[in-house]
């Protein structure tokens, strides 16, 4: 779709407080989350290459055979982080990445509340609940 945006004039950007939330703070936060997630993932891969290269290869082969680790408790993940387990770092990096859409919807939610646009507050709340329901469905399904 990006090709459709070549050689076109920029539309006027709104100057209201709401626009500043959406067009200044949201991109800043989204980029920050993205960069943090990428740094965590790169650090995790470097740690894996240094400390657990055999485990990485074994896991790769196991995944090729369809053997996934499956559901893990968050407490187990936290413990593995404390033990500086590279794969726990990778999992944290992936979780941080998924905060990007959550943060984006949360900003829209704040925006619509400030605009007192209650129909869209309800729509945005539904989307937020849908994202949370996804986590719950994954845990029980």
């Amino acid at each position: 779709m990006a090709g459709a945006f070549q050689n076109m004039k920029k539309p006027p950007v709104g100057r209201s407080e709401e626009d500043r939330i959406l067009r200044v703070w949201t991109p800043l936060l989204l980029r920050t989350i993205l960069i943090v997630a990428m740094i965590v993932l790169v650090v995790g891969l470097i740690l894996a290459a240094i400390y657990t290269p055999e485990y990485f290869v074994d896991r790769y082969r196991a995944v090729q055979m369809g053997h996934l680790i499956g559901r893990e408790k968050f407490a187990t993940l936290a413990n593995r982080i404390l033990q500086r387990n590279p794969h726990a770092f990778l999992m944290i990096g992936l979780f941080v990445l998924t905060l990007v859409p959550l943060a984006r919807v949360a900003f829209c939610f704040i925006l619509f509340i400030r605009q007192r646009d209650w129909s869209y507050v309800v729509f945005t709340a539904y989307v937020l609940l849908g994202l949370i329901a996804g986590v719950l469905l994954g845990r029980v399904g």
């Binding site: 090709g3 998924t98 996804g134």
Partner: protein, 275 residues
């Protein structure tokens, strides 16, 4: 380990790069790349792809929102439909037989190929549907001369219905479903193409995020695959978007269509060979 890591990064980089140039997104190319070249199970490829779609859409859509092309109200309204579809699709991806996923993927590749070659001009409406007017979905865009042109929106329920399908396909197949989303907004709801594209870009991350959360919470995301794929696709998409203004994308359109058709044939063949 470095050989495996390098191969995954290279595959993902290529998928992100081609996805960015073609405008179809990395997910369309990384799933078949992982299945065909890295011999990964479909579910693993879908989980890794959903994460990478979230990563790439974050960067792409920021600029469109900042510049004012995204119709936020249309996006939030239709996201109710896509998120419902995506969560359902991601849940079903753990149950649906692989043969069905492969056939659906082949069908989506054909739809993407059609989307890539179709010709279309904006059909801006002066009068919107009553529901669209009640929900204040109209907007303004500048024409060639820089004057603001008002556009209206029609057929909201029909567009939302197709968005449920787009979300379902995203959760099931690990793709952004951007081509389907743009077609729903452009063809059915009569939004201008540029607004449809920007709004679709905004929605893709949220739709894929909904599916990715189901996969992550279920433990269906292999970190050894998803991490290098997310990095590779993001870097590939970033470089692709930087090169985009300097490349004659129209000249590459035929190449993209051939690649999509080859993927469709390969995935359909894989599915049929299981029978």
């Amino acid at each position: 380990m470095l050989l495996i890591l390098g191969s995954l990064l290279a595959l993902a980089f290529g998928a992100g790069f081609i996805g960015s140039l073609s405008g179809l997104g990395g997910g369309v190319f990384i799933v078949p790349a992982l299945v065909i070249f890295a011999h990964m199970p479909m579910t693993v490829a879908v989980g890794a792809s959903l994460i990478s779609v979230v990563a790439t859409s974050a960067g792409a859509s920021v600029a469109f929102v900042r510049d004012g092309w995204t119709n936020l109200k249309v996006a939030m309204l239709l996201e109710c439909a896509t998120v419902t579809g995506a969560v359902t699709g991601a849940y079903l991806a753990g149950i649906v037989p692989v043969i069905v996923l492969e056939l659906l993927f082949a069908a989506m590749m054909l739809q993407s190929a059609y989307f890539t070659i179709r010709k279309h001009g904006d059909d801006i409406l002066a009068k919107g549907a009553p529901l669209a007017e009640r929900l204040d979905l109209s907007g303004e865009i500048p024409d060639e001369a820089g004057n603001l042109v008002h556009y209206e929106v029609v057929k909201v329920p029909e567009g939302a219905a197709l968005m449920v399908v787009a979300g379902l396909m995203s959760g099931l197949l690990g793709i952004g479903s951007g081509a389907l989303k743009v077609m729903a907004m452009d063809y059915i709801m009569h939004l201008p193409l540029k607004v449809s594209s920007a709004t679709s870009n905004f929605m893709i991350g949220v739709t894929a995020g909904a599916g990715a959360l189901v996969f992550l919470a279920r433990g269906d995301v292999a970190t050894t695959i998803a991490a290098p794929v997310a990095i590779g696709v993001t870097v590939g998409a970033l470089i692709g978007s930087r090169l985009l203004p300097h490349i004659k994308v129209n000249a590459l359109r035929t190449v993209f269509v051939i690649i999509l058709l080859l993927i469709a044939v390969e995935m359909a063949w894989r599915a049929l060979s299981r029978i």
